[in-house]
Symmetry: C2
Subunit: 429 residues, 2 copies
């Protein structure tokens, strides 16, 4: 049996995907039954690392998704359009789809999966989150028998590299970002990574699978790492924490979901604390399972292609066993109908680290304590860490508090005469 | 659609499995379609944590595997017989099988999978390795598109707990074992765990899946942790290592497989070094993927039941989508026909840590160096660490060497007049 695939895009991941499919020795033998029928690119003249027989490469992307001989369309274009339209057209034509496109799925998952259920095709996306780490299929197929409590991920390699470097060398954000751009770990326009939007796309996808409810991408509270500096990293270190950009989805008491992305002080003994450099990790907590963690390369052509090709052979395996006219396996398809109600930010409970610069006058800590206390913000520790010019530097770590109460207390504290400024506020795991 | 399961065994894992299946709210909705039709136990009179309607529990285990209404037999008896015979009978009757029984699969996998392929049923065993960690399905369905180079696991919770405690408290093996038995982390007869046989069963299963070749269980070189003592743990620590019981399967230059279980000095910065207590982790390395690691609870009723139930719903999902008369999905079945040729121990290349007690006479280190050198054993470091009574204690760490050469050198060294004894030899990752 042979399965024809149409590859859309031949960038880094597309090239690595083709390399795996064209060099199958020593790999799963199902790969021998996969044929790259067409490869859609924007230009036929660019030099390429992989060579195809003449006629395979084409600039006619629509031709690929309309080609009746193609069984599986593999979308590796990235970006929203024409990726979204091509995926929908492939689905309408009864083709299965494999994609690495987190942005399209996070925004148009509803439209795409509704269409896929109608024509009974699979849309698999293992590569969209965590690069080469198998996380989507384990969540769908294995972990869902548990009551999932929380999914916590380091899902953006660029920011994890930057924070690791800042931590290791006491370096400043801007310098490390420049270095990361030079090394190819950060893009020329790094906004999507460092402002947390890439991580938000990914946690939207993970939350949808883990909790069985669709997520409105724009409702996710999202904070990036621009405000993190060497001072806070050093204070965090002294307090027993490292700073990581975490993407978190958890079920809330009020039957809603908390979904958020923000830099976080992570206790050093936590499994996610030792995930460094461009590596990703996703920690899943559920009942009765407890904690499981998946760790690996979150980006890179080869790792991401490993996930893409695994989706391709999963579809091939199903087609081989059951033919083409069956129902979808509910564990691999998406049947969520309704949207999750997300917990408003002010109702989310979390710990906070907050750094104050204040006049060195008696009673400041007392004032802080009173203001926090009046808003039910209970304090875990207060440390006067040092002096910055004439000002005393005080770091407060709270217990778990409602963010709304914390913000109200902070607004009052800002107005205290002794408070010069609040240089940083970071959530604590 | 409803699927009837017959549960064989109602011990810790069986009870937790039933608890998940009987309390489905907040879990994957496929669980609502699973019905526990029969539960086979050895005694109906024992008090049980879960209650079934009358007629569900039975002591007639054969009746369960012969019951035409049962779709999936879930074998959680443990041990070799009657587990093996019941599994084979269920398969012969066309029933799918889910098992947590690593011992049966590691020894009778050949017989069981040959039978399963004949009657076209699935035999899934996610719970057999790594407790609640999804590792079997990711290996089968995702990672196999890579050329797998190595699978390295901490797959026995009991020994990992003992080594962690010994490391943390400088305690001796016998004391920690007694404590572990009191806490229920080690069995009254701890042989299978501490001599490495349980880990050998598990690496046999992982190696078969990762490399697509059957493994003769009795050919696996297996060393337990009885010889590890506080002295070696402390020297390892000083040299930058922790000691872990590793199960390793890797492809060898000579087109054979190295499969082995032994205590190992693991560099502290290695991902497996920080896996402590009863936790398990499996590191998979492949091309082009790089390294991925799976971490979680390797034992315990709830975690193991999570894996068992995930297998049950995977089969239910397939039956729901494709009906009962189709071919097997090659990614979930087992089509290996031949046995791997295992690399003889003497040809395996590894680093060694070896501790000598010797007379404090000049030239001893020179003699050691000469003996090693004559057998192509290249030395990475020699440290004279201290004195024990009248004797000097010397620790040697070698580079990667052929084990055969190393053993020959050691035999000669033993005969040197200045050498009193060689208290321990441990492999180094």
């Amino acid at each position: 049996m042979a399965f024809n695939i149409g590859l859309l895009g031949l960038g880094t991941v597309g090239t690595s995907t083709a390399e795996i499919l064209l060099d199958t020795a020593g790999r799963n033998s199902l790969l021998k039954e996969i044929i790259i029928k067409q490869v859609g690119v924007s230009s036929l003249d660019k030099p390429r690392k992989v060579q195809f027989p003449s006629g395979v490469m084409t600039t006619d992307l629509e031709g690929i998704v309309n080609d009746p001989d193609i069984d599986i369309v593999v979308e590796l274009l990235g970006g929203l359009e024409p990726a979204r339209s091509l995926i929908l057209q492939a689905i309408a034509n009864g083709k299965h789809v494999v994609t690495a496109n987190k942005a399209v799925i996070a925004r148009y998952g509803d439209e795409i999966y509704t269409a896929a259920n109608k024509t009974k095709v699979y849309v698999l996306l293992e590569a969209a989150v965590g690069g080469g780490i198998p996380i989507i299929k384990p969540l769908k197929q294995s972990l869902g028998v548990n009551r999932i409590k929380r999914v916590t991920g380091i899902v953006n390699g660029t920011t994890n590299y930057i924070l690791t470097e800042m931590s290791a060398n006491g370096a400043d954000f801007a310098d490390v970002l420049a270095e990361a751009q030079k090394l190819g770990y950060a893009e020329a326009d790094p906004t999507a990574d460092i402002d947390g939007w890439d991580a938000a796309d990914k946690i939207a996808i993970l939350a949808t699978i883990a909790f069985g409810e669709r997520i409105k991408r724009e409702e996710i509270s999202c904070e990036g790492i621009r405000t993190i500096n060497a001072t806070d990293i050093s204070y965090a270190e002294q307090l027993g924490f490292v700073i990581k950009l975490l993407a978190i989805a958890q079920s809330s008491k009020s039957d809603s979901l908390e979904v958020r992305v923000h830099p976080t002080l992570v206790p050093k003994e936590h499994p996610l604390a030792s995930i460094n450099d461009v590596y990703n990790a996703i920690l899943v907590e559920g009942e009765p399972l407890g904690q499981v963690m998946f760790f690996g390369p979150g980006a890179g052509g080869g790792a991401t292609a490993s996930a893409v090709v695994s989706d391709i052979i999963n579809i091939a395996g199903i087609l081989k066993s059951s033919g083409k006219t069956t129902n979808l396996d509910p564990l691999l398809s998406c049947s969520h109908q309704h949207y999750a109600s997300l917990t408003p930010t002010e109702e989310i409970e979390t710990r906070f680290y907050v750094r104050f610069l204040c006049q060195d006058v008696p009673g400041v800590i007392g004032h802080l304590g009173t203001c926090f206390g009046e808003h039910q913000v209970s304090i875990e520790s207060v440390v006067q860490i040092g002096f910055k010019e004439e000002l005393a530097e005080i770091v407060v770590v709270t217990h778990n508090v409602q963010e709304g109460n914390f913000r109200k207390a902070l607004a009052e504290i800002k107005d205290l005469e002794a408070i010069d400024s609040i240089p940083n506020i970071i959530r604590v795991l």
